[in-house]
Symmetry: C2
Subunit: 303 residues, 2 copies
Amino acid sequence: MTIRSVAIIGLGLLGGSIGLAIREKLSEVTTTGFDADADVRGRATANGLVGAVCDTAAQAVASADLVILCVPVGAMGDAARGLAGCLKEGAIVSDVGSSKRSVVSALEEALPDAIVIPAHPVAGTERSGPDAGFATLFEGRWCILTPPKNADTDAVSALTLFWQELGATVELMDPDHHDLVLAVTSHIPHLIAYTIVGTASDLEDVTRGEVIKYSAGGFRDFTRIAASDPVMWRDVFLNNRDAVLEMLGRFTEDLTAMQRAIRDGDGDRLLEIFSRTRAIRQAILEQGQDVAKPDFGRGSKEV
Amino acid sequence: MTIRSVAIIGLGLLGGSIGLAIREKLSEVTTTGFDADADVRGRATANGLVGAVCDTAAQAVASADLVILCVPVGAMGDAARGLAGCLKEGAIVSDVGSSKRSVVSALEEALPDAIVIPAHPVAGTERSGPDAGFATLFEGRWCILTPPKNADTDAVSALTLFWQELGATVELMDPDHHDLVLAVTSHIPHLIAYTIVGTASDLEDVTRGEVIKYSAGGFRDFTRIAASDPVMWRDVFLNNRDAVLEMLGRFTEDLTAMQRAIRDGDGDRLLEIFSRTRAIRQAILEQGQDVAKPDFGRGSKEV
Ligand SMILES: NC(=O)c1ccc[n+]([C@@H]2O[C@H](COP(=O)([O-])OP(=O)(O)OC[C@H]3O[C@@H](n4cnc5c(N)ncnc54)[C@H](OP(=O)(O)O)[C@@H]3O)[C@@H](O)[C@H]2O)c1
Ligand SMILES: NC(=O)c1ccc[n+]([C@@H]2O[C@H](COP(=O)([O-])OP(=O)(O)OC[C@H]3O[C@@H](n4cnc5c(N)ncnc54)[C@H](OP(=O)(O)O)[C@@H]3O)[C@@H](O)[C@H]2O)c1
């Protein structure tokens, strides 16, 4: 099957970036879009995120070969229910949600007769909304598909090709395993960042002004992550509770061991722990998932 | 007093950056340098980090108006003892150590008759060694001086001017307060980053390959911080133990509250916590301590 038209439901960072990427890389594909928020629809029109911004979800999906839900994971069920009876025959329904088990269930329950192939492009920034998107967001990133066991293989192939054309590399995964992997590589890092930024803003002995001034020592990197959209992240933690709690338990154990090594003045142990972590960094650089510019060219002129 | 010559002891990231910054911004000032490691001395010569790389610390400091110790905080005492009896009359001895209380004691004990004005430029990257430095490292950053109560005011003024000329803004602070502030803005973020990267590399259910592949979801930012020099950070944690343990206690309390909110499915509480942290990010951007480029221009073409 060939995807000739794509409907995007939710025109924020992810939805907008998909729209812009299609315009740039798949110019023969037409796009429509809908967002529950009228202001967002206005911005999406102004920014040309999709070819036509529609006033209802039903209109947006009416002739789409592929429908992508780009709303917070907690809103997937609602958004999908709004499409029941409106989809074109044979249309693929997909999404970009950051957790997958609960989204798979919500979509399958809301649209029992549709071809549902959930997906998660592992690409983002801390910004959200209809002005945050850009066409290159998915380049060199991974997109994980979690098709059901009996999935239509043509549909999986078509969706795989679609994401490849936006610049991503596609991997298939079981939704439960996805949720465990992303708990480690994304959800726990966000949870920790939100926590430390919260801790730092509530101290009596150190003022907020001091925290802000001296943030270049490492803290500012956490504030970037902790500036991510609160609704999106609330939904991720509510929807991936078990995997997040499991990984948090392991992290806490390791943190306690670290605390003990510091209290005991055990320099050898600290050195051993701090030395092990460089290998992972090296591999991330080699695989192109980050760059080694000092300071990311932030404050300095050297890049 | 006027600083006409600077001796740099320890020619790694900090020492090298100071040397390069002086050459670029204070071309009339001469520089000498020494490093305990002969290979580092060779690289420093090749990179032109200072005007003359000397074979002994005594030679390097013999005619210096300002001596800056740029070695790990645990090596400050040793490095300072090596200078006893070698300093020029009236020379200022300073440093760049990331913790200050223990460094102040070590320097004053090793050099009881010298003019000691400890300092900490809050600027760095995760790289270390004689090839990592660059002249703009200190531009737009803060440099904290922790002069003793009876400090020579001329010396404090001269050192203040020196750091300003390298591009930094100078602030005076009590060493204990410095150690508490930096525990929050730098030491705890590094400790947490080392811990989560360690946790992620030791899982059975999620492979290292998966952690590396899907690191763009947030994890990669922690790996950058956790790639910092192990010796430097071991020394920081051994030398700022009390403040680090105090701040770690608060962080752990907040993390436990977060864990409970997730376990209870308390979305309102999560939303409230996640919403509070954006204000700090905004202030950091406004004060120029970070930039808001999406992805820092890492993977994407848009900057
Ligand atoms: N941000 C990232 O880094 C990232 C990365 C990978 C995946 N994701 C996933 O991508 C999805 C979207 O995230 P985002 O960052 O693009 O969020 P966003 O910028 O906030 O955009 C989401 C948009 O969806 C709208 N919306 C909410 N419920 C809706 C509904 N029932 N029907 C139509 N529109 C609705 C929202 O409107 P209102 O503002 O009025 O609610 C908002 O405009 C989430 O599932 C998230 O987990 C995000
Ligand atoms: N990196 C940062 O982001 C940052 C930021 C602000 C402040 N600081 C502080 O700056 C200082 C230096 O850090 P850095 O990142 O520049 O480290 P670095 O790149 O590892 O450089 C330190 C150099 O000092 C040498 N050294 C060790 N003991 C010595 C001694 N007794 N005499 C002479 N040389 C000696 C080391 O040689 P060997 O390799 O043989 O040990 C090494 O070449 C530390 O106190 C750190 O806390 C660092």
